[in-house]
């Protein structure tokens, strides 16, 4: 059984040279595999780390996952700064460079289409948060009356009111997110949505109502960034990340990627 595999980071238009000094996952050297006008960026990884059983364990290890994700991202970023690039999903391992070459041959048309779509464009991330404490309308509490005589009924009533107001706050927040998304999509050439992040992961108590990705012409990046700044306010926080390599806009090739909207 083979002891190593070819870890694939990205496929780019053939630009001749490998961007210098790229170190990949597990401290491996990155090299280019070129075929038919396309270049695949790969490194040789030990299956003791990237074989199925090993990977099952390693993906449970946050330190390993983070180091691997950041190394993958570093390589993708380095390539994307040099040429139109289709990032490949984290942990895609072929048995060798021959299989990677075959991939470039078999899927060259699809890669060509995807690379044309992302050429000269960058991905931006926009996350929208709503603080329910700021946005909640203050409904009058049930003072005295039923509360004094029938605490159980008063509790249920308060709870119903609270749930109702949270629900309407949530609905208003979602509407606001839709407006923001529409404004951003007008500047972008394409938009996708990622799942909203769990508060445990975002480290924030407020509600994430939008986790969007937008593919924007490089020449309109500043305009896009400036626009996000104007959309915050009134209990709504808008966070911009990027520019990113077009991770969220290569779904056409994979067939099953991020949620897609029309």
């Amino acid at each position: 059984m083979a002891e190593s595999g070819s870890y694939l980071y990205a496929v780019a238009r053939d630009i001749g040279d490998v961007p210098a000094c790229l170190t990949g996952v597990a401290e491996t050297a990155v090299r280019a595999v070129a075929r038919g006008g396309l270049t695949a960026y790969v490194s040789t990884v030990p299956l003791t780390q990237f074989g199925e059983d090993a990977l099952r364990r390693n993906l449970e290890d946050l330190a390993w996952l983070e180091a691997t994700a950041r190394a993958h991202h570093r390589v993708v970023g380095g390539v994307a700064r040099a040429a139109p690039t289709a990032p490949v999903r984290l942990v895609t391992v072929y048995s060798g460079d021959e299989q990677v070459c075959r991939l470039l041959e078999d899927r060259s048309e699809e890669f060509g289409t995807v690379l044309s779509n992302v050429a000269g464009r960058q991905e931006w991330g926009v996350k929208v948060y709503v603080d329910p404490k700021d946005a909640v309308s203050s409904e009058p509490a049930d003072e005295g009356g039923t509360g004094a005589r029938r605490p159980g009924t008063a509790y249920l009533k308060r709870r119903r009111t609270s749930l109702r107001s949270r629900e309407s706050t949530w609905r208003a927040a979602v509407e606001r997110a839709e407006e923001i998304d529409a404004a951003l999509t007008a500047v972008a050439v394409a938009a996708r949505r990622h799942h909203t992040q769990d508060p445990q992961l975002s480290g924030r108590d407020d509600w994430m109502v939008l986790n969007g990705a937008y593919l924007v012409d490089a020449g309109r990046g500043q305009e896009f960034a400036a626009l996000t700044g104007t959309l915050a306010g009134g209990g709504v926080d808008v966070q911009l990340t990027g520019p990113w390599a077009p991770y969220s806009f290569t779904a056409e090739l994979g067939g099953q990627s991020t949620e897609t909207r029309a």
Binding site: L65, A86, P87, V93, Y94, L163, L240, W244
Partner: protein, 75 residues
């Protein structure tokens, strides 16, 4: 406006944000659900791993609107 926004805006001019400053959760959004998902001829891809058993599955699990409502409603 937040520090992250300001950072993003400032670095937009330079064309990039240093990899170290990218939040892991934002990165994993893209690396685990974005990027070209390939099949065939592979030794392995992340799709082959049963993510249900990964303790970090929260990273790629949808938090539905109802879940959020319930969670906050129960506080």
């Amino acid at each position: 406006m937040t520090a992250e926004h300001t950072l993003g805006g400032a670095l937009a001019a330079e064309g990039r944000i240093p990899a170290e400053r990218v939040a892991l959760v934002d990165l994993l959004d893209r690396l685990l659900s974005g990027g070209v998902a390939l099949s065939g001829d592979l030794v392995l891809s992340i799709a082959d791993i049963d993510l249900v058993h990964i303790s970090l599955r929260l990273l790629i699990t949808s938090v539905g609107e109802l879940d959020v409502l319930e969670r906050y409603g129960d506080e």
